[in-house]
Subunit: 327 residues, 2 copies
Amino acid sequence: MRVVITGGTGMLGKKLAAEILKRGSLTLRDGKAHAVTKIVLFDAYEGFDVPKDPRIEVRIGEVDHKPTIASLITPDTGAVFHLAGVVSAGAERDFDLGYRVNLDGTRVVLEACRALPQPIKLVFASSLAAYGGDLPDVIPDDFRPTPQTSYGAQKVMGELLVADYARKGFVDARALRLPTIVVRPGKPNLAASTFASSIVREPLAGLPAVCPVDPGSWMPLLSPRRCVNAFIHAHDLPDTAWGWNRALLLPSLDVTVKDIGDGLKRVAGQKAYDLIEWKIDPMIQKIVAGWPRRMGGKRALSMGFTVDASVDELIRNYIEDDMPKAR
Amino acid sequence: MRVVITGGTGMLGKKLAAEILKRGSLTLRDGKAHAVTKIVLFDAYEGFDVPKDPRIEVRIGEVDHKPTIASLITPDTGAVFHLAGVVSAGAERDFDLGYRVNLDGTRVVLEACRALPQPIKLVFASSLAAYGGDLPDVIPDDFRPTPQTSYGAQKVMGELLVADYARKGFVDARALRLPTIVVRPGKPNLAASTFASSIVREPLAGLPAVCPVDPGSWMPLLSPRRCVNAFIHAHDLPDTAWGWNRALLLPSLDVTVKDIGDGLKRVAGQKAYDLIEWKIDPMIQKIVAGWPRRMGGKRALSMGFTVDASVDELIRNYIEDDMPKAR
């Protein structure tokens, strides 16, 4: 059975592929585990450190290009994970690109699935960027999405498509609203949330890092490891577990930025902690203050999704899974 | 100044054009009333009984055809009312047509506005089909949209586009979620709600009508007259009255189907009332039971939108505005 991961050469795509290969199978609509014989990582970029495995194939192309996607999602495809997307800052800077990739791309992927001889399961990565405007302290499962970025608007439109294609019986699609993924390996990126990973990752490598927000700022966190497990769990659940409501708010570890620093101190000591420079950047502070502070995620917990136990665990996962080893 | 109404030869489009001509002007972004010199009614169909006025021009075409819409929304356009759409049953029957007209068409109209030398106001007709699934007795303003039809999904996607184009400063766009419009003139159509007009309109003309739902079924109603006034009010309000929240739940007259029958009896007498045959159609009953029962509409009321005072008024409006006169 073939598995397609769009955005496949990204951080989460690569980890997802590795985890699926480790498990060896996915549960399809017949309720049975089917062996995975091939994983196609589709992306606009080659990426780096793609897992070495004869079952993995990298395909480069544009996600909104119909013939490309039709040739990608072939009749032997058993599962699709649709993670491809222009991220928040990118979609804000280039309005047309954001709609082309995040909205049109999602439609093209769903249409390619609809064209298959039988409906398959698809997991769509949405985001807490679905929320914005006036927010309560804790976001309940049934809180209305009112995105305040183009990225967020495109993600909510993707969720609506997912629900409609599922309702019509075209694709057994499901969407997960992801919290902030921490600790991300690699280098800082242009996302406003990048500091939440940097203030752990850089000090662990003996490098300084700036925290641009108030230590009291709340952050809803999820580790890459649990995020990947959530993708697979979202896929393997039967459609009866989803019903008509196909957009699920994932639970998160809700901590303050101070809690992240304190966790680093406990795991890696005072010396590492002292590498964090606390220096507020009003622009980033403002963006972060507009985000959801705490995610309820009650429905997801009742469906068997899990949350990281502590900041310490989050940091130890990173050290174990991703931290470059001393040579 | 030119005004463009998409879906312009439909029932609401024609009434909106007539009301704008009667008023003579619309309030633009400078806060001043500007004289309307031309109204273009754009639609896929010629329609009938289009108001006779030298300022009215009918243009026929497809709303998702970019060059057509670019030639329609010219630089002298001061206001756009985007009412065009494939209705509920049509979008459910033809999935591709629904997305092409209701989603792609809305994008094309917004893009044509974005291309203008300065941002203009646009009013988008959304619907209570935005709601579905588990609903409370009264829908609060901030209740989450979870549409259970393709039409509803497409309308919510349109609202998200409206909000995003407004946030970016491309189009000063606003969306209204319309209740069930009653009494519609003309003949019954394929909408499941068509009976709510029929059980008034046909008996007034001395004809029998079937009511296919339980008399206790709730219906949130709005008269065509108030709906048209709501479109103009939504347009004329300054952008500061809207803020970031561009999708507005209109208030409705929330009555049971029995209340509609009782109103008819009061206005037109027992003989008219006796022309209603009460005969439940389980399929229509099920659809109607899944709709919102009562709309709160508090925010809209605070913004100056109004609601019909009684079923009697609704019926008298129809007699005054639309009922074919005895010859």
